[in-house]
Symmetry: C2
Subunit: 192 residues, 2 copies
């Protein structure tokens, strides 16, 4: 029996508590608005512990702002890719299980270059390849950029700015109204 069992120590518990508190506060107030002391108070712990477990605020943020959009990378029905995308979007942002990684990132990206860089990484590594796998890879960047503009704008209005009419939209309305636009963007500009 020389195998090393994971050994869930006590520190792992508080480590997770800190990370959860950080995720919540970063999502609510952004990188600058959430101080290490705030995170520590939310986790009912001393601020020094936050630094001990995560070595700096930057590293804590990096651990909190992990994003996996789980976009369909395999064969998708090209005729339904718009609806597939918008449904995936709603699950990512409103689903219960998924961490608030994307809202953390977007909340800080507008005024924090480090967070903005991570958003660009998500686009380059997750959104763009997915679009490239559908149609002509030559102008995949342009089409993926249009998709991102619509989806990030919807997220801004609905989850960050909370524009009343956009918050009031039902998931079905969003799928009906935005899905065809995404379809058009993914397939090419004159697919109508």
């Amino acid at each position: 029996m020389t195998e090393n069992q994971p050994k869930i120590t006590k520190s792992d518990r508080t480590r997770a508590q800190i990370l959860e508190a950080a995720r919540q506060l970063f999502a609510e107030r952004g990188y600058d608005g959430a101080s290490i002391r705030d995170v520590a108070a939310q986790a009912s712990i001393d601020p020094a512990m936050v630094i001990r477990y995560f070595h700096s605020k930057d590293e804590l943020f990096a651990r909190a702002a992990v994003v996996d959009l789980q976009l369909p990378d395999q064969r998708v029905d090209p005729a339904a890719v718009g609806e597939t995308l918008i449904r995936r979007f709603l699950v990512n942002w409103e689903g219960p299980a998924n961490g608030p990684g994307m809202i953390i990132l977007l909340r800080s990206a507008a005024s924090n270059e480090h967070a903005a860089h991570k958003v660009r990484d998500v686009f380059a590594n997750q959104v763009r390849p997915m679009v490239a796998s559908i149609g002509d890879p030559a102008d995949a960047g342009r089409r993926a950029g249009l998709v991102a503009s619509q989806l990030l704008g919807l997220a801004m209005c609905r989850y960050l700015l909370r524009l009343e009419p956009v918050v009031a939209l039902s998931p079905e309305e969003i799928i009906r109204d935005v899905g065809p636009v995404l379809q058009r963007y993914v397939m090419g500009h004159d697919a109508h």
Copy 2:
């Protein structure tokens, strides 16, 4: 000759310098990222002067973040409202004369509730009435919200996050690709 001529005093000069420096730094770094000391240094002035002329940082920000989208409120050709809107958007964001009010606001709105409130005001007082004047006022909120989601998303990707493929789009491409989407949103969901 009892008329009071405006009297451009020396203080008006530096007042304008401070405001210009504030606009630039707020646009680049957002509300939290631009300190009063930074603004003062940019204007080659003492930080105390910023407070003397504008009474607080909040008031300075309010003066800097003034937005007038100049949307067409009169008779617009309903068949060309999408193209009209996206052209207006490009002038507002890339035109030489217009102040950077909108980029100031958007940069800070994601992590600053005060700025977010002002964005909601711009939407309610400028975007929504314009959409309401075109089609059925009953669901003007929903349609205006969809328009805002596309335009704010485009602004985020092109001017704040600087997503490479979106930055690379030419104004003509944007007009061609996004115009029809706005047309669809303004007129109603099944106008194709």
